[in-house]
């Protein structure tokens, strides 16, 4: 019973998926589907509290419910809720079936929640696939757009390749250790030391997971997919999906201290360094906001990798806080793009010229986007700053000067392109074609979500104590 309670968020999300599916099969009603989805997700969010009362608890050899899994679960659910709400506005005008979007969203969310609770390679793999498969569909949801279809296919093919590497790595690890659970694997790795076979296995797994996190050089799909896919799907990909994978990577690295082997460790450090620089550099010249956000998310996961590389002291707390700020900010930034492209009608309004002079048309929406850009750049008094501060602090604490240098250089470059977006928003508007949010955007659910996110980003930037306390509590369990 305690096990069931501990898994209740996951069960609730799955149940919602089934209910939604049956409801669609019974009768297609767009608003009903959306409402059911949101109710289910909210129940699951509330059920995280139930799970928290049971934590820490190992449920079957596959799953565990502890602070980390609840932390990840809450972030995923919040992100999914935002995607559902934003998707509602986005798909309102779409032709063809619209209800299945929620079905896919719920399945992916279930995959994410299972992934963050995984403590076994088997559950890691199947929940990762459960997370990814619905995403193929979501990314290509507006398949009449060339870009969306292309994005879906690209993600599917490359993701399948990455999964193959992941599986191969797992097989290697299993063959040489005889364990599939993280704890046993960690123990076996620790006793085996830096055996070449195990490193090959870990390396392969890192490729698979690094692909999902778009770590350089496995990042190549990111900008294309972000650009082409419908905005709510890209939002989910950028937020919930990445959170889930990062949390499981964190858990894997934590439970397998042998990953601190010099070779593997320096591989991770090099990847982090390259990711920060490449992500930021390639973002400089982008003319498309979604692409730009794609590169920026690459860079941000480079920063996050720094915390994983160091993996001692404040590292877990740092990763947690950075994730929270990243998710809130990304949701907000993509949210504005979604609102501007809602209701769906042709390709998304994500070219930078769509945003030229937005301030003179939609001042509050502009303010939201400005706050998000400032937060992504890590400017003080926004949530992003807290995360950036933690990363620098962790790097300095561990005296990893190369990594600190990378963070500093990357952030300085980052300042440029985030500012470029901001400047664009305030430029006087030439007589160009425009896509605009509906006039009553702020009264609608999507608008409320975006405004709330902006408020939260500022609030957590000014008064981050509750967030820090929460993350600490979660990291300690």
């Amino acid at each position: 019973m305690t096990s069931l309670l501990a898994l209740s968020p996951l069960i609730l999300v799955c149940a919602t998926a089934i209910v939604v599916m049956l409801a669609i099969a019974w009768r297609r009603c767009y608003d009903l589907t959306a409402t059911l989805t949101v109710i289910g997700l909210n129940l699951a969010l509330a059920a995280q509290l139930l799970a928290w009362w049971q934590a820490p608890l190992d449920v079957t050899p596959l799953l565990t419910v502890d602070g980390l899994s609840i932390f990840g679960g809450v972030l995923i659910l919040v992100a999914t809720l935002a995607c559902a709400t934003l998707g509602h506005a986005y798909l309102e005008g779409a032709r063809g079936p619209r209800e299945e979007y929620y079905l896919l969203l719920l399945c992916a969310a279930a995959g994410g929640i299972a992934l963050v609770s995984s403590r076994h390679l088997a559950s890691l793999f199947f929940s990762l696939e459960l997370l990814s498969m619905p995403l193929y569909g979501m990314l290509a949801y507006t398949y009449r757009e060339r870009g969306a279809l292309e994005a879906g296919v690209k993600y599917m093919v490359l993701s399948a390749a990455a999964s193959a590497f992941l599986l191969f790595g797992m097989a290697l690890l299993y063959a040489f250790t005889g364990h599939l659970d993280f704890a046993g694997l960690g123990g076996a790795l620790a006793s085996a030391g830096g055996d070449g076979w195990l490193l090959a296995g870990m390396g392969m797994m890192l490729i698979g997971l690094g692909f999902k996190l778009s770590i350089v050089p496995f990042h190549l799909w990111t900008p294309d997919v972000y650009e082409g896919s419908p905005a709510p799907a890209a939002t989910f990909l950028a937020s919930a999906s990445k959170v889930a994978v990062l949390v499981v990577l964190l858990r894997l690295l934590q439970s397998a201290p042998a990953t601190q082997d010099a070779w593997f460790h320096s591989l991770l450090a090099v990847l982090a360094f390259v990711t920060m620089l490449v992500g930021n550099l390639l973002a400089l010249m982008q003319q498309d906001l979604k692409r730009l956000l794609g590169y920026s998310s690459i860079a941000h996961f480079g920063y996050l990798l720094v915390a994983l590389v160091i993996n001692e002291g404040l590292a877990v707390e740092t990763a947690g806080i950075y994730l929270v700020t990243y998710v809130l900010t990304t949701l907000g930034a993509f949210g504005v793009v979604t609102l501007l492209s809602s209701p769906y009608g042709g390709a998304d309004a994500s070219r930078l010229h769509h945003y030229r002079g937005l301030f003179w048309r939609r001042p509050y929406l502009t303010a939201v986007l400005t706050v998000m850009m400032l937060s992504l750049a890590g400017i003080p008094l926004t949530a992003g700053f807290i995360g950036k501060f933690y990363i620098v602090a962790v790097g300095v604490e561990a005296s990893r000067w190369w990594l600190v240098g990378g963070v500093v250089a990357g952030s300085a470059i980052g300042l440029f392109y985030y500012l470029r977006v901001m400047v664009t928003l305030f430029l006087p508007e030439p007589g160009m074609q425009r896509r605009d949010a509906t006039t009553d955007w702020a009264q609608r659910a999507g608008g409320v979500v975006v405004l709330a996110l902006a408020a939260l980003v500022v609030l957590l930037g000014v008064y981050p104590a509750p967030m820090i306390d929460w993350v600490r509590l979660m990291a300690a369990t």
Partner: protein
């Protein structure tokens, strides 16, 4: 509380201007000025106490986790800066009111200015390192807004961007340095940090911390080699330059040096790094100030030079030098702000700042000329003015420095040279602009600026004179307090006076002034000399670097991100190859302990066929049907391999799954063109083949290594317990229906739901059957070939029989419900293929959904049944029966469960496949209709 007011009032002031409008400019300026004025009054009220030695402090806990407190202090150092910032700030507000033209958005300008003022006040009053850094970052941002205020000018945008790039980068380095200091000391509290010099100096992390902090300070204060951004920032409106580049922004760097002086100074590193950087900057700036032609650029370089001077003083590790540095901060702020404002007046009245065009302006603006002359004389270090006093102190200090050991005489000599240049460029600034003949080519006739515009300059000039004449009375008090704070100990006694008697510094001052005059007279030779060098514009260099970076990133995007899926795949595979290859290289031998099995001919033939079929699939992929057939050969060989290596169950399953997959692929092929166009060039094929071979090699070696090592797995457990626990000899089946019965129940439920889901979702999908392929050749009209139809019909009963057989023997021999279900499904599908959907449906007139659902129901009921007998869910019971021909049949309750599996598999598979087939309708709407 009043401390908070000093910081927050200007912040409030940044909101007030927006209440006003661009039209009501007086009101706007007054509203803006009100808040700093009150803040200034508050500060003045605190001043006596501070000078008496009190240090008002204020602290609220803000983010304890970050060590960030909202802590402010007003010690002497802060006081000096606060007075400068607020005082000069107020004058700038007045000046800007008359400087800005109608076209400029005044409320916006004032809002930015106030924001900047707030952040500057925050820096100087912060009592917490992180808080200081936050305000530091805000100055970078707000100065970006101010420098780029005329955003329609490309130079302004570029200058602002450059300033932000340099100072922003420095700011982040500073953050790292401050965090390091915080880690050394254990807190970010300012007082504790200042008191722990010994701890910091002894720590091995001192050097990186010092380097990072100096990087922050030097970028902000435009020290060599980061001096280049300051002249480019002159694209800002003049009030901004006067404020940011005389009294505030650039002073933040030297303020930081003064603030952290007690904590960091005293080491050899500090001495060399700081003072030599300062010295070099001083000379560099002074030289270029003499060369440049634009009034503001001249002033900018002279600012660089003076900041270098101050930096050098802070570096000298002498207490008196710190006092001199602080004194020069005060003096430089006054005369440089005034000079910038005169440059602004000239620009405003004449429309140009080119020193070659401006001449003899004293005829038109005598008052401005007088003010410019006074302040420039102060800059030159002319006696009776404040610049003279601090410069003389500086020269005196250079005489006593231990720097460079035996070469210590170099320092005063170089300092004197710097002073000579300073005198020369000051003279040039005044004489070439206001005297020396008549102006040429001016766009408009200049006239004297209005009085309110001159008033700020006048005030500052008066301050220059007062400090110059009565230093002891006007400056000693505040200076001593500031020095106390900057040294965290009582400062050495200060005797400021105009006349110290004849001594070496006085001689150096005299040399500087006379030498400056000589250099000015002979300046043409210097210019001729300078012309031999190619001109180097820092903006052009920076922009060039930016352009190169842009080209580089563009190249990166073009090579990496060209949108080609193949390219992306290539990179993923290459990196995977690198990772696995590198780890493989660290291993001595691939072979493990296990002996290699003998290869028998059968195996070799099988392997050869598999290889051939695999290669053929790839090579013939453009002829899709053949390629598909080859693919099915690969699948067949895989199932045979399973059978060969004693996994008949897997083999059967693989076979059945293979059939279903191929049928699905056939369905898809039906809608695709028959041939794929040629898409790869020869070189690309070579590349791909190489890559595939390499990767295949790595994977094969990994596999080889894996298979030659002993493997411990869980299968032994199941082998041991399958008969005793589940009553069956077929371990796979026992696992499915007994050991893992609950999982299987879940799986078939999912299968059933998925089937129903797909069925419902396909409900509306309509695909139109093509009547011809893409090349216009019609498909064969004979859709259902006779031979296939009759064969399949005769096969059906046999297949059904086989499936029953497999089902019954499943528990002991290879077989089971799952495989039996697949066999049945395949047989039925064959009917669909052979005869068409309509024909088959007439005969198989039952729905598949109930079958699948009843399968799940049976399985569940079986499980529930064990409850009825008081056992846990899904406990199985078994007994043995003998049926003729089939043999010994063990009738376990698991069999019932297996029936459920069977039904579900049949139902779900047919539901999916049959419906996929059904979505095509032979009726195809005409082209016109489709377009409409």
């Amino acid at each position: 509380m009043s401390l908070l007011l000093i910081v927050l009032l200007p912040l409030l002031g940044s909101l007030l201007p927006s209440l006003s409008s661009n039209q009501r400019r007086h009101q706007c300026a007054l509203l803006t000025a009100a808040m700093p004025l009150i803040a200034l009054l508050v500060t003045l009220r605190e001043t006596p106490g501070v000078i008496a030695g009190e240090v008002p402090r204020l602290a609220f806990s803000w983010v304890p986790a970050l060590g960030l407190d909202l802590a402010l202090r007003l010690d002497g150092l802060s006081l000096l800066f606060v007075l400068l910032i607020l005082g000069i700030g107020l004058l700038i507000i007045l000046y800007a009111r008359h400087y800005l033209s109608e076209a400029d958005n005044m409320p916006r300008f004032y809002a930015y200015l106030m924001l900047f003022m707030t952040s500057m006040l925050g820096i100087v009053m912060a009592d917490n390192l992180i808080l200081l850094w936050m305000f530091w970052e805000l100055t970078s941002l707000s100065s970006f807004l101010l420098i780029g205020f005329w955003s329609h000018q490309s130079a302004a945008r570029k200058g602002a961007r450059m300033a932000l790039a340099v100072t922003g980068m420095g700011g982040l380095a500073l953050l790292a340095g401050l965090i390091l200091i915080g880690q050394i000391v254990g807190t970010f509290d300012m007082q504790t940090v200042l008191d722990s010099r010994d701890v910091i100096l002894a720590d091995p992390r001192y050097l990186p911390a010092l380097l990072l902090i100096l990087l922050g300070a030097f970028t902000k204060s435009a020290q060599f080699p980061f001096q280049f951004w300051l002249p480019q920032a002159m694209a800002a409106p003049t009030p901004v330059s006067a404020f940011l580049h005389s009294a505030t922004m650039v002073k933040a760097g030297v303020f930081l040096l003064a603030r952290l002086h007690p904590a960091l100074a005293g080491s050899q590193e500090w001495l060399y790094l700081v003072s030599l950087t300062g010295l070099v900057t001083m000379l560099y700036g002074a030289y270029f100030a003499l060369i440049k032609l634009d009034l503001k650029t001249i002033l900018a370089y002279s600012t660089v030079s003076h900041l270098g001077l101050i930096t050098m003083l802070f570096g000298l590790n002498s207490q008196m030098a710190v006092v001199a540095g602080l004194f020069h901060i005060l003096n430089h702020a006054t005369f440089k702000a005034a000079l910038f404002m005169t440059a602004g007046i000239v620009d405003h009245e004449c429309g140009t700042r080119d020193i070659r065009k401006l001449k003899g302006l004293w005829r038109y603006m005598p008052m401005t000329t007088a003010l410019a002359a006074i302040t420039a004389a102060s800059m030159a270090g002319f006696p009776l003015l404040n610049g003279f006093l601090s410069k003389e102190m500086m020269l005196a200090e250079t005489l006593e420095t231990p720097l460079l050991g035996g070469l210590a005489w170099l320092i005063p000599v170089l300092a004197t040279i710097g002073s000579i240049l300073a005198a020369a460029y000051s003279l040039r600034y005044v004489r070439n602009t206001f005297f020396d003949g008549k102006p040429r080519e001016l766009e408009k006739t200049p006239h004297e600026a209005s009085f309110p515009m001159r008033l700020p300059v006048l005030v500052l000039a008066i301050v220059c004179i007062i400090i110059g004449l009565f230093p002891a009375f006007s400056a000693t008090g505040i200076l001593t307090t500031a020095a106390d704070a900057a040294l965290t100990m009582p400062a050495p006694e200060l005797h400021l006076s105009i006349w110290h008697g004849f001594n070496l510094p006085l001689l150096m001052s005299a040399i500087a002034l006379i030498g400056g005059f000589m250099v000015y007279v002979l300046r043409q030779h210097l210019f001729t000399f300078h012309r031999q060098f190619p001109s180097r514009n820092s903006l052009a260099i920076f922009e060039g670097a930016v352009q190169r970076l842009v080209r580089f990133t563009q190249w990166g995007i073009d090579t990496l991100e060209n949108g080609s899926l193949q390219r992306y795949m290539l990179w993923v595979v290459i990196s995977a190859l690198a990772v696995s290859g590198m780890s493989l290289m660290g291993i001595e031998t691939l072979k493990g302990e296990l002996a290699v099995q003998k290869a028998d001919p059968l195996l070799i033939v099988g392997a050869a066929i598999t290889c051939f079929a695999g290669l053929a699939t790839a090579f013939l992929h453009r002829r899709r049907l053949i390629s598909l057939i080859m693919l099915s050969v690969v699948g067949l060989m895989a199932s045979l391999a399973f059978a060969r290596f004693s996994a008949p169950d897997l083999a059967l399953t693989q076979l059945a799954v293979e059939v279903v997959t191929v049928i699905l692929l056939m369905l898809a092929l039906f809608f695709l063109p028959q041939k794929t166009p040629k898409e790869s060039s020869a070189s690309r094929i070579v590349r791909d083949v190489l890559l595939a071979a390499g990767f295949g090699g790595v994977v094969a070696s990994l596999n080889y290594a894996l298979l030659t090592r002993p493997l411990n797995s869980i299968s032994d457990y199941f082998l041991e317990h399958s008969v005793s626990g589940g009553g069956g000899h077929n371990v796979v089946n026992v696992i499915l229906v007994d050991f893992r019965g609950f999982d299987t129940l879940g799986e078939i439920t999912v299968l059933c739901i998925a089937g129903i889901g797909i069925y419902k979702l396909l409900n509306r999908l309509r695909l139109f059957m093509p009547s011809s392929d893409s090349e216009g050749r019609p498909w064969s009209p004979d859709r259902y070939p006779m031979i296939l139809a009759s064969v399949s019909q005769s096969l059906l009963p046999m297949a059904l029989l086989v499936s029953v057989f497999i089902f019954l023997r499943g528990h002991n021999a290879p077989g089971g419900g799952f495989i039996a279900g697949l066999v049945t499904a395949v047989a039925l599908i064959l009917m669909y293929i052979a005869h068409g959907v309509e024909w088959a449906q007439q005969r198989l007139s039952f729905q598949y959904q109930p079958i699948a659902v009843s399968g799940v129901a049976i399985a569940t009921l079986t499980g529930v049944g064990s409850w009825a007998f008081g056992y846990p869910f899904l406990t199985s019971a078994f007994g043995h029966f003998h049926i003729p021909l089939i043999g010994d049949v063990e009738l376990a309750t698991a069999m019932l469960f297996d029936l459920g599996v069977y039904l579900t598999v049949v139902g779900a598979t047919l539901m999916i496949l049959a419906n996929l087939g059904k979505v095509t309708t032979s009726h195809r709407p005409s082209k016109q209709k489709e377009k409409a």
